[in-house]
Structures are given as C-alpha cells and as structure tokens.
Symmetry: C2
Subunit: 359 residues, 2 copies
C-alpha cells in the first residue's frame, strides 16, 4: 500500500518548491508538470533509461503533452560542455520553446547538468528533479546548485537555479549499487556533523538499518537531510556565507576527485573520506574533541565509505585545494567543526593542512 | 570641461544598479569596482583593445587590485562556446575566485558574452558593462540579457543576469563606424515606436543631429532609451509578458541575421529593416495607419539602416521565424503596433506573414 508523500518545502529568494518523498513517487511525476507546459524533455542517462526510462516516459505521456527522451552517456566524465550541448541540440532540433519543462531523471550528474541546461536554455526554462541515487536525493537535487565540470576544476561553470519540484521515489534505491548507497550516506551523516548533533546520534544508532535500506529509516534520513539542507539554503541561496558549511569535507573530497580523475571515486566516497580529514584538521584548528573525531571516523566507516585518503604528495594536495572555488584568492579556507553539530568556516595556513595529509 | 554624468537607475527583482551616462566616463571606471573585489578581468575584443585597452587597463590598475586583460576575437561569429570557454580558461588559469569582477568593454557581442561568463563562472560573479557602441549603450548593456549563439539560433544559450553598474562614455562614439551609429539609432527609434510617441517625434526632428553625433542630442537619446528600457525591464525582468515588446522588429531581424550568417548585417541594421516589416504586418493585423507606417519607414531610412529585406524565399523566412525563441510551440507571435507608441504581442498565421515578405 502506498503511503502519502512526506513534503518538505524549500523557500528561496528565487523560488519556492516542494520536495515530495515516498515510495512510488514516479507514478505521480505527471502532477509536477504545469498546465501551460508546451512540451516535456525527459533527460536521463543510459543506465537509468534501461531501468526507469519507459515507465517515466509513459507517466509523462499521460499529461497529453509532447514528450521527448534525451539519453546521455552515464558518468561524471561526461558532465561537460559536450554533453550539455547535446541537450541544447536536441531541444532546438525539436523546436522546444520557453514554455517547455525538462525532467532530470538520474543521479547528481544528471541533475546538475540538466539543471544547468534548464538555467541557460533560452535564458531559463522550468525543470523537475527526479533524483535516483541516495546522494542526489539528500543533496544535489535540493538547493538549486547546477553546473558542469571544466578540465581545471569541478563544477566551475554553473548557476544557482531552482527546480519547480523535486520528486524523490525511495523505491528506486533498491536497484542502487551498494557503493552508491554508501556515497549517499556520507552526505546524510554530514548534515548531522555540521548542524544537527541529534541527527548524528540517530545516524549512529540506525546505520545498520540505513545500510539495509530499511524503508522507514531511509525515508526519515532523506526527509531530515532535505529539511536541514532546505533550512540552510533558504537562509543563504547563493552561498554568501552560511551555505558554505554544506561543503564540509568537500575541499579535500574535490581534490581527491580531481587528482584521481572524476568518476574513479564516487563524489560521496570522496566527501566521506574528506570529512575525516576535515575532522582531523578541526582537531588541530578548532579543537574538536578527539573523541568526536573518533565518532566521525567510525560513522564514515560504518557507512561503507573509504576512510584512507590517497597519497597524492602534499604539494599536489595543496595545489588542488587552492584551486577549489570556495577559496578566496591565495588563502585556503575550510569548513571545520567546533563540535559535532556546529560548523564554522576557517582560514588555515598550508603548513597546518599538511599535517593531516597522508604521509 | 566634463559635465556630471546623467544617472538612470535600473531596479529589477534580482538587483538594482545605476547607468552613468556622460563624456569621459571611462576615467571613472575604477569607481564601479567594489572594495571587496579580489581581482579584475578587463575583457574586450581585438578592435576595442587597440583603441581603449591600455587606457581602461590603467584606470582599473588605479584600484590597486590585480588586473588581467582578456582580448577576444572581434565579431558576432565569435559569440559562441569556444570564445566563452577561452574566458573561463583565462580566469581559472589565473585563479580568479568568486569575488572577482569582470569588466565588459565593447559592443553587444562582448557585453552578452562577458555577461554570460559572469553569470556562469563559479555560478555567478559580478560584472560591469562598459558599452562602446551606440547599440550596446541603448540596448544590450541594459536589462541583464546575456547569451551566446548556437548554430541553430541566435542567443539560444544564456541567462538573465544583471551587472553591478553600466558606464556609458559618449566620447567613444567618435571612433564608431557610421554603419554602427545607424545600427544603434535603429534601437533608439524602436523605443519611440513601441512605448513613447513623443520620443518618436523628437527622433524625427533630431535625426540629423543624431547622425552627426551632436553631443547633447546623443546624450539625450541614450538617456531616454535607457529610461524606457529600464522601465520595461523593472516591470518584467524575465520577459514573462511586457518585456517582449522590446523585441519589435526582432523576429524578422533575427531571421535576416540567421539566413545571411551572423555579422553580415549588423544586428541593428537587421532590426531596422525588421521594424519596417513589422510595421507592414501591423497595418494588416492591428490596423496601424498607413501614414504611421510611412513615418516609420522614413525614420528608419533617415537613420541610415537598410529598408529592403533580403529575398530569402518565403518558406525559408517562415521556417527561420518559427525557430525564433519568442515563438510558442508551433504558433508565430509578433510584436506589432496599434499605433506609434503602443505595442502589442499578436499571434499571426503564416499566410498573413507571407504578404509582407519580399516577393
């Protein structure tokens, strides 16, 4: 039996929308399409297309609107201008106008790229996020960050652009590889670390249920993650200040991804590992208690993410992290923890950072 | 002696900023750079760089901030992804962060492309418009439309993104080729046609002074054009309705540009000619008085713009216009005039459109 969706509202200066969370939400996808929509583009990747493509297409055709499907190659390595341009080509060839709606069916790569396509096609059209990975459901589909990668850095080209709705169908997680579940859990536990100590404890107690994809546990973890992210984003949509705390672990994580080549480690895996490094750096700089560092390590480990950072050589590490776009010119800034549940942005000199890099 | 700048404020939901208009405004460029700017990129084209590049660079260096100059190839044919990407490359290579400011020194192509680079570099950084053509001064630098072209259509990829300031130095018009003066005047007289009959009459009376670049006449024409555009944009930043009237003549004009290859006719020339076609269509559809059609033809002619549309074959015309991004799916919509000073958006069937195409 289908239970009613849990609804989380996201309210930002540039738009308000709902996140609907529940089993079987794919069935309700047509409800997110506004009446005055001229045409719909279902945009997904080759992997997701095989599993959910024809079902989603059928549901969208139920609107009576023209629907096309655009299938992109799968993977972070394709999150670039070439793939983005293939979306523009299809839309223009099919004469899609400003009143079209794009539906992003996939993980974070699809969501970021389709979001950026929507932000820039004819100077902006509407889009719906249908995240199919846990990571996308708890993080990238919420808050309006869209982007593609540049050879010099991840997500360097993008826009803040909000969807008109987010549909989170928890049933799709059943087909998710376990590495991707772990990668998503990294972002879930991040919210506890930076802003909600009670949720961190809840994650410690329920990590086995989460790893087993227990439906109630997963739904609550998604709901709480979305609520916490929506709260932060509503206060600071464009990352003028507070929103930066969501990047806890990401400066280290992005360096790992950039060094190993995007797609070798999953984004969430790199962030999981990066959070341990950020916790260790917090111990040195903001005096995070060693016991809390241990709890963070244990929880990352329990989530199935890697806990040992790759040895890139410390100069390469520093160089990669200084290129991170959260850096102010020349300086290195990190999101650190005062304690579990309380994050702060802090400038750190390179010598101190070197102390937490793999020897 | 330098006279004080005329200031026109633009107030939109996504930002408020001033347009400063006067002789010698380039000298004051440093005043537009905010205190917390980390670095400045002066972005211009190879033609403008030779005339004003070193002067503008010197003024910006007076801020004490790091300044780089990025010189792009000149012309509409370079308003594409490749050129845009060369901006990203330079900024990333020079480690420009989110607190940088881009300065767009050039005509509409530079303004549109740098504006889009600013909208999308690291999800948005600040930029200043310094338009050096009359057309850019009265039109493209105001209102936040940014874009690049796609092989299938002009300005298909872009964003609404407002600058933090617009500096209009009327002295730079002295070096402008006369074709470009005429192209700019086409947009000036457009404002009279669509929204201000008194200004249309003023243009009729002062066209000789404008063509001769009489300073008082030119400054007033720029000021009034910016005021009228700012008024429309403040009511409808994202072209949900009213703003579309600014596209009077543009559906025909874009078809001319697309058919002949961007850059063969200047944008303003194509719009000038397109306004005559739109006036003729208005005579058929919204019953614009034949006498007013004649006044429009005469004023376009007096501005030095072409008045005879190229014969593309009517099927090609229709096909090109249906691809215009202002079109709703399948239908053809035009900005037409009820009378001089009053524009309306109207759906028109293809057979009626054919009547005003070159035989």
């Amino acid at each position: 039996m289908e239970t009613p969706a849990v609804v989380v509202n996201v309210d930002t200066p540039s738009g308000s929308y709902n996140i609907n969370i529940g089993e079987g939400r794919l069935e309700h996808l047509a409800d997110t399409i506004p009446e005055n929509t001229s045409a719909i583009a279902l945009i997904t990747n080759s992997t997701i297309a095989q599993i959910y493509g024809s079902h989603a297409l059928g549901v969208l055709r139920g609107t009576g609107k023209p629907v096309i499907q655009i299938t992109l190659p799968d993977g972070e390595t394709h999150k670039n201008w070439k793939t983005l341009n293939s979306i523009y080509d299809e839309l223009l060839t099919n004469r899609f106008d400003r009143n079209c709606v794009m539906v992003a069916l996939g993980g974070g790569v699809i969501g970021d790229m389709v979001g950026f396509a929507a932000a820039t096609y004819m100077r902006g059209v509407r889009f719906v996020q249908v995240p199919t990975t846990l990571l996308a459901q708890v993080d990238s589909s919420v808050g309006g960050k869209t982007a593609i990668n540049h050879p010099i850095g991840k997500n360097m080209i993008g826009a803040f652009y909000q969807p008109i709705a987010v549909e989170i169908d928890t049933s799709v997680l059943g087909t998710l590889p376990s590495r991707e579940v772990s990668a998503g859990l990294a972002e879930v536990i991040k919210y506890g670390m930076i802003i909600d100590a009670d949720f961190f404890s809840w994650c410690e107690e329920n990590m086995h249920s989460l790893m087993a994809l227990d439906n109630d546990a997963v739904r609550y973890a998604i709901q709480r993650s979305c609520e916490l992210k929506a709260h932060v984003v509503s206060l600071d949509e464009r990352e003028a200040g507070l929103r930066a705390i969501l990047n806890f672990g990401h400066t280290f994580g992005h360096a790992i991804e950039a060094a190993l080549g995007y797609g070798q480690w999953l984004h969430g895996e790199a962030v999981g590992c990066g959070m341990i490094q950020a916790a260790e750096l917090s111990r040195l700089v903001t005096h995070l208690e060693p016991q809390e560092v241990s709890r963070i390590k244990s929880l990352v480990h329990a989530s199935g993410c890697p806990t040992q950072a790759p040895d890139l050589g410390s100069d390469r590490w520093i160089s990669l992290m200084q290129g991170d776009k959260k850096a102010l010119a020349g300086a290195m800034r990190f999101v650190l923890l005062n304690k579990i549940g309380e994050a702060v942005v802090h400038k750190v000199d390179a010598d101190t950072v070197r102390k937490v890099l793999p020897a």
